[in-house]
Chain length 313, copies 2
């Protein structure tokens, strides 16, 4: 059986705070249709794809509530699910989740070609802070608005829907943490989908990180972690200027050698697609990164035994 | 106190099986002197710098014995230690170690400016195989000739010798394993030194890996792991054609943003140097990669609990 999946990275341009839900959903459906026209079987959308990146503001009340989805799908997003099912296309979608119990997560789902939810992931590596940084024009308040993901790093056995690919999901900052990729690869992951909203400046308040440097970082971690885990990755941005706050683009599809095979050229709504052969993972998984043959976990204890760096003089 | 260390990557060209120990040591001393002329306080030499990369052959008897050092320093290498002390230069040196108890390791030492051994590391991620691959012209028999390193991943608190830098060492294939970097970074590592001998073709017998691709991989893992651990790295090759078997070059010095600041241009003996400010690690260690604030080790269990990938359908 051929295990080539044609995958589209559906980058989104900016979504402003005043943009309507309906307009944003219409953009997603357009991107989905463009992807299908390019033959895509799987479309990867960004993190928090349904709204602006609201953690940049200190919010409360109804505006904050309106950024969260109380179920998935729900009437606001049903047209996207319906159109994808008509086209027989699977998709990754990031959104803000409010559970029936009142928990809030930064979440993604993988939706299969019949509209079924094949898997869910809740972001574990929340960046930013709980309290706003005094004097900052833009905040990074993910630790305020979301709980840490509580599902670990599950993989999805896609079965016939997607050529039996073993698929992992991460969200934005997670992709900078090699532990996250490794936990997925230790379950045989062949394809990693990750959406992001990454500031085009230092979101922690420094002045040493340019948009070019931060785009380099975003691609570097996708490339190297794909290589070191012998998997494909599809990393997709929400990009451009959201209410004065810049987001990098650089959405890309990366092969198991860490090479970029398709890359967005703009900071707007843009689809790039590539044929991704899951069997290309075999070289790395059986040789250089044959974990069974070469890993030495008896020496990796500090990775799970401690949180921060411990400096013993 | 300024924490800028001027560091040289002292790449070596090939060392043939028939080259004399004295000739090879003379080359190392020349590279040391060239590094000192460029102002280097620390010189990083390759893995197994004193000999050819002998694990490519199935060997026994006296030739094999002669590749190992029974102490460090020893009369064969004393002139290098003496010259370094005269110049006040520290260095990283890789060599094959035979202990008094008869254990064999692929080892590196960090030698301080007074010739003192400041730290030792024994390679943990041995690549290759115990038994020769039938029909292969060149083998990769590190698992035959060496035991797995038994010292874990110790860091060196360099004190006044090297601006109080916290230094880690890895050897060759170790650098492709993010666990190794992380165990060092969890001890505050600011500078990683790693020597390598990496084949310019697939050492596992495939035909899909070119010298260019393998050089890309070598630099990719140095860059990304420097970034993800907010540390400098100095990765140094033995390069070129050793008795018909090609080795990649690509020696480089990488800053904590993952950017290459100096890079070898040849496959021969070549020194490149750069000023490496240890305080540049602070941005990453205190913000994006503030481990205490952002790591979630309760979800990293598989990294230490299992060796190979486990595929649960």
């Amino acid at each position: 059986m051929s295990r080539i999946i044609r995958i589209a990275a559906a980058q989104m341009g900016p979504t402003q705070r005043t943009d309507s839900r309906a307009d944003t959903l219409a953009r997603l459906i357009t991107l989905l249709e463009q992807s299908a026209q390019q033959g895509a079987e799987l479309v990867v959308f960004p993190e928090l794809a349904l709204t602006t990146f609201f953690p940049r503001w200190l919010l409360e009340g109804q505006e904050l509530e309106d950024y969260f989805e109380q179920s998935m799908p729900n009437p606001n997003v049903q047209p996207l699910f319906d159109r994808a099912r008509e086209l027989g296309v699977s998709f990754y979608l990031g959104y803000a989740e409010l559970t029936p119990e009142g928990q809030r997560f930064n979440t993604s789902v993988l939706v299969g070609p019949q509209g079924q939810i094949m898997g869910k992931y809740r972001k574990i590596h929340l960046p930013g802070s709980v309290e706003p940084r005094p004097g900052a024009v833009y905040q990074q308040l993910e630790k305020r608005y979301f709980e840490y993901g509580d599902m670990g790093f599950p993989v999805i056995h896609s079965g016939p829907a997607l050529k039996d690919a073993i698929i992992g999901m991460l969200i934005c900052n997670d992709r900078r943490w090699p532990e996250a990729w490794r936990c997925l690869a230790l379950q045989g992951m062949e394809l990693l989908c990750v959406g992001y909203n990454s500031a085009a400046y230092d979101p922690n308040g420094g002045d040493t990180e340019s948009a070019a440097l931060r785009t380099f970082h975003a691609q570097l971690v996708a490339q190297s972690n794909s290589y070191m885990n012998a998997c494909w990755s599809v990393a997709v941005a929400k990009a451009g200027d959201e209410d004065g706050s810049g987001l990098i683009g650089g959405s890309c599809i990366v092969d198991p050698d860490g090479q970029i095979v398709a890359e967005a050229a703009t900071l707007g709504d843009e689809v790039v697609a590539a044929d991704c052969d899951m069997d290309q993972c075999f070289q790395g998984k059986s040789k250089m990164f044959n974990f069974e043959a070469h890993r030495r976990p008896q020496w990796y204890g500090p990775i799970t035994e401690q949180v921060g760096a411990i400096i013993r003089k």
